[in-house]
Symmetry: none
Subunit: 160 residues, 2 copies
Amino acid sequence: MAQLSDSIEHFIKDLMTEDAHVELRRNELAQHFGCAPSQINYVLATRFSVDHGYIIESRRGGGGYVRIVRMQTRGESNLLNILLNRVGNSVDEETAVAIISNLRERDMVTDSEAALMRAAVSRNALALPISAKDVLRAAVFRNMLVQVFKNIEEGKRHDV
Amino acid sequence: MAQLSDSIEHFIKDLMTEDAHVELRRNELAQHFGCAPSQINYVLATRFSVDHGYIIESRRGGGGYVRIVRMQTRGESNLLNILLNRVGNSVDEETAVAIISNLRERDMVTDSEAALMRAAVSRNALALPISAKDVLRAAVFRNMLVQVFKNIEEGKRHDV
DNA sequence: TTCTATTGACCATCTTTGACTATTATAGCG
DNA sequence: CGCTATAATAGTCAAAGATGGTCAATAGAA
């Protein structure tokens, strides 16, 4: 069944056969397919999620865009999902630190990056008068994990 | 998608590759880009703020000008204190992002590190059912700032 | 029925413009 | 020379324009 969503999905994937990322105008794409703009979001959410190995970035306003970035196609994208799952909605510092060490051992982050991540999830960073520290840490950490994997795919690790 | 604002930003930064400051006529620049003069102010406000590491000086009337100066600091430990102070107990995302881009421009963090930091302070990371997001962001961010400087100190930036 | 897909109304964010304001230099006047 | 009018600049701010995001209701497929 050539659903609209499927067509849009294939259209985008065709655009990505060369490059690991595309940038497009949500409204243009919607117009091209004669559908509501929010349909594009639906496709992105259901077919280009982190689980599927993609990351979406976007910007509103004049000159706005939606960028779709493909992450690993091999075992590691699976690793990201495992880690995100492990983290879930709440992690303690010990676990987070362990995961970071693991990423370092796999050489997926540099020493500096690992240190930065530890800084962000440390007790100290989250020493606030709120009780949900683990929840918070998980939210921050998840975001950073996704970022790490995106960097790897974009080949941005060996910069400067 | 070279936005007008982006073009103007790059134009100005190109002018500054040599010198740490440029002086220009607002109206001339606006005419060069075929836009309203106030557009220039918009670019200055959004891309050349103090948090981005620039200072704007200007003068009206005949022979008026706009001068853009890249801030310089004596020694990095001093900068750390300035930034920690700036962050204080609460920062909004915009400011945090500006500071991160400032660190990047000074080549004090790599692209990956900057991206990690952005991930940690993003709205998304802190999308929690608590109201004190800015406070929280400040806490996380302060910790990362300290770490950045520590990384530099330890000479660990130029890692594989 | 239940899961997936579509749409539309309403929201958030970023950019660009224009009308109005503020400041400074200079030419002309007394 | 001192004052004033005018011209030449730049600044502010709010409105309009240009995008994209969310979510709940509805429709369609399995």
